[in-house]
């Protein structure tokens, strides 16, 4: 084991480019593709939404994806190390992203646990036809109002026990490492997810009323294109859907071999993610068309998104459709698989960051990271107030975590550090799809404008009235307090010294990479002689910084 020696453990790597692509798709395709996109598209003009959606994909989604790939691959480190190598004072950006992943991981796991239980419930229609809404909130979650009970400590076993199982599974995957854990899990789960979802879509299309659903989904409302809010929602959706700007793609691309076609791979990931969304839109709206017909209403009356779509509308469809149990098992099974492949990518951001900072080996870091996260996750989300905490944390971390860090990161990298030309050079040096000046313009100018607009809109809406009608103390802690704490903690973590055994101090592989590519030494490597060597270096200079 690497821990037994004084030598820095070598950086892990994906087995091949295809494993990386599949893992990146696994990360990008998550719950949002299945339960968010169909409704966002429907609301935003149906078929007409394709125009803002494609614009957002091509002008913001893909450029930001390349931005993350370029940073991770050029600086070859987890988010904090990659940003530190870019410039010492950029390190907090990396930790900010890591802490965002901490928040997301603790609540993401519980949604997977719910979906896992609903896979089982679907097989037996446990909720009882007609009782789907009450079953979810009252019988299953035992939801309590935070305004009345505060933060509950009442354990809900039917949520808590599957949540333990979810954590055990992801901990095992994480402990096995990048190649044997993350890579292999994605190699198995992604094809399975695709096949399951394809069967689900085909089955939904044969339900009576399915065509009415598709009609509602694809009929264009051209007037929506004149509404800036629709364009904003397209950019917002693409941004969250591709999992850009919170460290995942930086971390994953740092595990790629040195000579890899970055942009070519990124295009496959981006279009596969969108391809899955279109498939989900067809499947979900075909099923909603059936639901509307069965209830004798319009599709508009049953269309919904998020938790309401998954845990109330879909169980209703499962109850009413012939062969509903199969639809339910496929749908919730797909949610579980899509969720697990995303959760492991979120955890990898945290594990990789601590591995780099502390110079620890894989298993030790994995356990040090995941066990406390699992405990926090259990404490907050296996109780009766889980839904309120989840809803609030999700809304705030998305707006003032992910979106804020993305805005700060593009401004810092483009306008303060002037690193875009270096990133273009790196991307174009090895890629089949050249980016050039247009990319710099999109990332340096369009992205900050769009992200700034979205952030200000969010800020206004969340300040003007209390989010979700929750009490002030509750929003102060789990909303505003949490997002501010992320920034404070990121600054604190950046101030802590890097271990003498960490990659920042001693990384012969990185030095060799810089020499081979004829790159200038950067902030961290400037004291290291640029001679390619395979000899392990002395770590004495680690003590000085």
């Amino acid at each position: 084991m690497a821990t037994a020696t004084t030598q820095t453990p070598k950086r892990e790597a994906f087995g091949s480019r295809n494993v990386f692509i599949l893992s990146a798709i696994g990360s990008a395709v998550g719950l949002g593709n299945i339960w968010r996109f169909p409704y966002v598209a429907y609301e935003g003009g149906g078929g007409a939404f394709l125009i803002p959606y494609l614009c957002a994909l091509l002008t913001a989604g893909i450029p930001l994806l390349f931005f993350d790939y370029a940073i991770g691959h050029r600086f070859r480190g987890s988010a904090p190390l990659a940003f530190r190598r870019m410039h010492r004072r950029a390190e907090p950006l990396g930790w900010w992203q890591v802490l965002i992943c901490v928040v997301i991981a603790v609540y993401y796991a519980v949604i997977i646990a719910w979906a896992a239980m609903y896979t089982w419930f679907s097989a037996q229609l446990t909720w009882g036809p007609g009782n789907e809404n009450d079953f979810f909130f009252v019988d299953f979650l035992r939801s309590a109002d935070v305004a009345e009970v505060g933060i509950s400590t009442e354990f809900v076993p039917q949520v808590g026990l599957p949540l333990v199982a979810v954590w055990l599974i992801v901990i095992v995957i994480m402990a096995l490492g990048v190649k044997r854990g993350i890579g292999r899990a994605n190699m198995i789960l992604m094809p399975l997810l695709t096949v399951m979802f394809a069967i689900l879509v085909v089955q939904s299309l044969f339900l009576p009323g399915a065509m009415d659903g598709l009609n509602a989904f694809f009929t264009p409302n051209w007037e929506a294109l004149g509404n800036p809010a629709v364009w904003a929602s397209a950019y917002g959706h693409i941004f969250f859907s591709l999992s850009v700007a919170f460290g995942i793609m930086v971390t994953y691309s740092s595990y790629l071999k040195r000579k890899t076609d970055l942009t070519g791979s990124g295009l496959v990931v981006a279009f596969a993610n969108s391809g899955f969304e279109i498939l989900a839109g067809i499947g979900v709206f075909a099923a909603l068309g059936f639901m509307a017909q069965a209830q004798g209403t319009e599709v508009a009356g049953v269309a919904s998104s998020g938790i309401g779509l998954a845990f109330i509308a879909f169980p209703t469809i499962v109850s009413q459709a012939t062969g509903g149990s199969i639809i339910g098992v496929l749908f919730f099974g797909a949610l579980v698989f899509a969720g697990v492949t995303s959760l492991i990518s979120i955890l990898e951001v945290i594990v990789a960051a601590l591995q780099d900072k502390l110079g620890w080996a894989r298993i030790r870091t994995t356990l040090t990271v995941s066990i406390p996260l699992a405990i926090v996750s259990m404490a907050l989300f296996s109780t009766t107030t889980a839904l309120s905490v989840l809803d609030t944390a999700d809304a705030f971390v998305n707006a003032f975590g992910i979106m804020a860090v993305a805005l700060v990161a593009v401004i810092v990298v483009a306008w303060l550090l002037h690193k875009l030309p270096a990133l273009v050079e790196h991307l174009d040096r090895r890629s089949s799809f050249r980016v050039g000046r247009v990319w710099m313009l999109l990332v340096g100018a369009l992205a900050p404008l769009v992200l700034g607009y979205l952030l200000v809109t969010e800020l206004i809406s969340k300040i003007s009235e209390p989010y979700g009608g929750y009490p002030g103390w509750f929003l102060a802690v789990f909303g505003w307090g949490m997002v501010i704490a992320l920034v404070a903690l990121a600054l604190l973590l950046s101030a802590l010294p890097w271990s003498g055994r960490s990659h920042a101090k001693d990384d012969p592989e990185y030095d060799e990479f810089l020499a081979e590519e004829h790159y200038e030494p950067d902030a961290e490597t400037s004291s290291i002689p640029m001679v390619p060597t395979t000899e392990p270096r002395s770590t004495e200079k680690g003590a000085s910084a």
Partner: protein, 44 residues
């Protein structure tokens, strides 16, 4: 389904799924370079 809905559905499928196929074809034309890098380390 109305004609416009069908047309929009086809356009959506052709652009997105077509984009995916084009991206995969482009990648397949640029196979991974079997370079002289050392093999990835054994984990654990």
């Amino acid at each position: 389904m109305t004609i416009t809905a069908v047309v929009m559905m086809i356009i959506a499928m052709v652009t997105i799924w077509g984009g995916l196929v084009a991206a995969i074809v482009n990648l397949a034309r640029h196979p991974e370079v079997a370079d002289s890098e050392p093999a990835p380390p054994v984990e654990l």
